[in-house]
């Protein structure tokens, strides 16, 4: 009844081609942005930011990145953790080597460096596909973690082998280090997420995205109609790694503040982000958000309900979480391979017709 396109007349191509063609969607989008930028910063405290918002924002960027590669271009990657580590160590080296440059640019340059590394590890994708490519990216994951553990230059020869973020400011307000305000780090990451989502959305809607999807759907057919697999695959690796690198940089500099590569960017991180896009929905920007939100909120919600409300033993709750996440992944793969995004799409279709389905 409320949600419908009837009565909306597009009189130009620009109108017709916009991201949210239905007015209701558009309104929802503006309201969400307004709430995210103007309301939440005034309400958050340390706990909300550190336990929920920061992980959500950062994982959403990583999920968008991986979704470009896996969901849009069809190249399976298990190297996300390693590429996040590249972002984290790049931003660390930049922060310590050029302390006068704004951290904002460091994060973007860290993303660019990760993009270059991603292209390098994407080269084998020109020859190998599917499972074999997954194994090749797995090698990248282990190699990168090993590299950052092994070469002391990357961690500035610190005795512990850890990297820790010194204090850096944006407009005089600290966004890294110990003295940060919750609203400041929240807004800093939010800006990156909104920027990433806008770029990713428009990339996937444009000719680049169409090439990726052509490669994903059938690479030989795509080649015949004139899509260059070399540029298509490598741009997908570059764009994907850029976002993953930005996520890794924020994860280290803003969220954790100190990082040990094997633990923070291990193989489990790669799988976590992969689960996010599988549960959220492959080939959907909205799905990246939904998956990240789901996997960040689920453990927190289980902990609040199980340990804090019912007083169950903490180990039971931790084990329960593994069981539930595992069961959900199987359920989604069987019942809804396109994830939460598809559920949302179906809901919208139903809503358009509601309350008169015929």
């Amino acid at each position: 009844m409320i949600y419908r396109e009837a009565g909306e007349f597009k009189t130009s191509y620009v109108d017709d081609g916009q991201t949210f063609p239905i007015r209701f969607d558009r309104l929802g989008y503006y309201v969400t942005l307004a709430v995210a930028f103007l309301v939440i910063p005034f309400m958050v405290n340390d706990y909300w930011v550190n336990a929920i918002f920061l992980p959500f924002l950062i994982y959403a960027i990583a999920a968008i990145g991986l979704n470009i590669l896996v969901g849009y271009c069809g190249q399976v990657s298990l190297g996300t953790g390693g590429f996040m580590a590249v972002g984290a160590y790049s931003v660390y080296k930049l922060m310590t080597a050029f302390p006068d440059i704004n951290i904002f640019f460091h994060v973007i340059i860290a993303g660019a460096i990760t993009a270059a590394v991603g292209v390098l590890f994407g080269l084998p994708s020109l020859r190998i596909k599917g499972f074999y490519l997954a194994v090749a990216t797995l090698a990248a994951q282990f190699f990168l973690v090993w590299l950052f553990n092994r070469v002391p230059w990357f961690y500035n020869y610190s005795a512990s082998g850890q990297i820790s973020a010194p204090e850096r400011t944006v407009f005089g307000i600290p966004v890294t280090g110990a003295e940060t305000q919750p609203w400041a780090v929240y807004l800093f990451c939010l800006v990156f997420l909104v920027g990433s989502a806008l770029i990713a959305r428009n990339l996937t809607r444009g000719s680049t995205g169409r090439r990726w999807m052509a490669i994903r759907d059938m690479d030989i057919a795509a080649e015949i109609i004139g899509v260059n697999p070399l540029t298509a695959k490598l741009t997908a690796f570059a764009a994907s790694s850029f976002f993953v690198g930005v996520a890794g940089a924020l994860f280290f500099a803003v969220y954790l503040g100190a990082v040990e590569v094997g633990e923070a960017f291990g193989i489990s991180k790669s799988f976590l982000v992969l689960f996010m896009i599988i549960i959220g929905g492959l080939g959907s920007i909205f799905g990246s958000f939904a998956g990240a939100a789901f996997l960040v909120l689920l453990p927190v919600a289980l902990k609040v309900v199980g340990a804090d409300m019912f007083g169950w033993p903490t180990d039971t709750v931790a084990h329960l979480q593994l069981v539930i996440v595992g069961a959900l992944i199987v359920t989604f793969l069987v019942l809804e391979p396109h994830g939460l995004a598809q559920l949302w799409r179906v809901t919208k279709e139903k809503l358009r017709l509601w309350p008169f389905p015929h």
Binding site: D46, Y47, N50, A51, P55, N149, A159, S160, G161, Q162, S164, P166, E167, G177, A178, E179, L256, G257, A258, V259, E260, G262, E263, A264, G266, V300, K303, A307, D308, G311, P313, T314, D315, V317, A318, H319
Partner: protein, 433 residues
């Protein structure tokens, strides 16, 4: 004990009781136990956490808390994972906790800047950042009674004793967890190597440490005279089993205190006989305190976890950590003149903590640990540790040396250097007030 008031205590008990029935307890003294009972480190995390909680439960049950204030323990599962550790910290710091005992060097590194900014003390008993011993820089962090560099030095001292004081041309291997934790002793061992003339061989083991074939193959090939281990969790069991497999002489294999629990040696069976580990407190359950623990905690069904860890090495260590926290609370209560202390007063209590043999005997723990005193410039105690050896037939650890002090000539300058670097990096002016 100025603020003690029996009426108030009754009221507090009543209120606590009512709240206990209604929901989470809101006592005046809150302690957060960031434990890990799941994952590859659970075998070591469980006994420590049980000991830590049981000691506070004992104080609540037997003495009605400390100075009349009940202790409220909030447990939070970290899985030895830094992200979850940070989440635990953020979700509990508003409950006014007195002290955090993260039991993870990785989480400690995360929490040092956060806790310093929030003004909540951290106690890292024999782990964490070694240079936090310098209290002029690390105002809110305490790592008494001993730290990793003390451990490294005491291990070398023990080897020196074994070799008649000469290590020239000897080869010593360090098998370590490839993380901030395992890398801690490297610099000290290198410095000591320059002093004593041994050659150091580094063998990193990646998290979680189930795969160590290549490291032990290297040990087999290079035949180091001694192997020192910095392991934790499942890595310990695997390393000891591998050492048994290549028939490495177990009495030449020395673990840090985190590689010396029953869970680490039992899986290797008879082969582990003679394995050595450091410790900064005594082992076993032959102490008067244990009678009380059994009577008030275990028999009452109030023990944490399964209640089957009493007397194990890590249970004792958790209990020791809780005992040191409780003594710091008492000191803080005396200094502040009130029983309901806050985190800042707790910090002062920790900084003025004095552990003497009389005090320990009075608590029911005679001969349990070395004496030490905390001061503003020394947050790390005196650095005494002893060597324990595993008897596989009797299934028990026993101390084979006295407590030895670490080589302060080597360690003090290293601590000075590292803490000064940290102070400069974070813009701290070292001071005592």
């Amino acid at each position: 004990m100025g603020g003690y008031n029996p009426m108030r205590r009754t009221l507090t008990t009543l209120v606590t009781g009512a709240l206990l029935a209604a929901g989470p307890a809101m006592a005046d003294l809150t302690i957060v136990d960031t434990s890990y009972r799941t994952g590859p480190y659970a075998a070591n995390g469980i006994p420590f956490s049980d000991g830590y909680q049981d000691y506070f439960t004992l104080l609540n049950e037997r003495d009605g808390g400390i100075g009349g204030e009940k202790i409220n323990i909030i447990e939070c599962e970290t899985g030895y994972n830094t992200e979850k550790g940070v989440e635990c910290y953020e979700s509990t710091k508003n409950e006014d906790p007195l002290v955090y005992e993260p039991l993870s060097t990785g989480i400690t590194y995360q929490l040092i800047p956060k806790a310093t900014a929030d003004e909540i003390p951290l106690h890292t008993l024999g782990y964490g950042r070694t240079s936090a011993k310098n209290g002029e820089v690390f105002k809110w962090v305490f790592n008494y009674p001993a730290n990793y560099w003390d451990g490294a030095s005491v291990a070398i001292k023990h080897i020196l004793d074994q070799e008649g004081g000469d290590l020239n041309g000897k080869k010593i291997a360090l098998v370590y967890h490839n993380s901030a934790y395992g890398k801690e002793p490297i610099r000290t061992l290198e410095k000591l190597g320059e002093k004593h003339g041994y050659e150091l061989m580094l063998l990193p083991v990646d998290h979680p440490g189930q795969e160590q074939k290549s490291q032990w193959l290297q040990v087999r090939r290079e035949r180091p005279d001694y192997v020192i281990m910095w392991g934790w969790g499942v890595m310990n069991q695997v390393a000891i089993q591998e050492a048994v497999n290549i028939r490495y002489p177990m009495d030449h294999f020395i673990g840090i205190w985190w590689s010396g629990s029953e869970n680490d040696v039992l899986p290797a069976g008879e082969g582990a006989d003679g394995y050595k580990a450091l410790t900064f407190h005594n082992l076993g359950d032959d102490y008067p305190l244990y009678d009380d623990l059994r009577k008030f905690v275990v028999d009452g069904g109030k023990a944490a976890g399964a209640g089957d860890q009493l007397g194990t090495a890590l249970y004792n260590r958790g209990m020791y950590a809780a005992m040191l926290a409780a003594e710091a609370i008492k000191t803080a209560q005396e200094m502040a003149g009130t029983s309901a202390i806050n985190a800042a007063q707790m910090r002062d209590g920790m900084e003025n903590l004095k552990i003497t043999e009389e005090k320990m005997a009075e608590l029911g723990l005679p001969n349990f640990g070395p004496e030490f005193e905390v001061t503003c410039s020394n947050h790390g105690g005196e650095g005494y540790a002893a060597v324990a050896q595993w008897d596989a037939a009797a299934k028990e650890w026993s101390l084979i040396t006295d407590y030895m002090q670490s080589d302060q000539d080597v360690i003090a300058p290293l601590i000075e250097e590292d803490s000064t670097a940290f102070a400069q990096e974070s813009g701290i002016e070292p001071h005592c007030d």
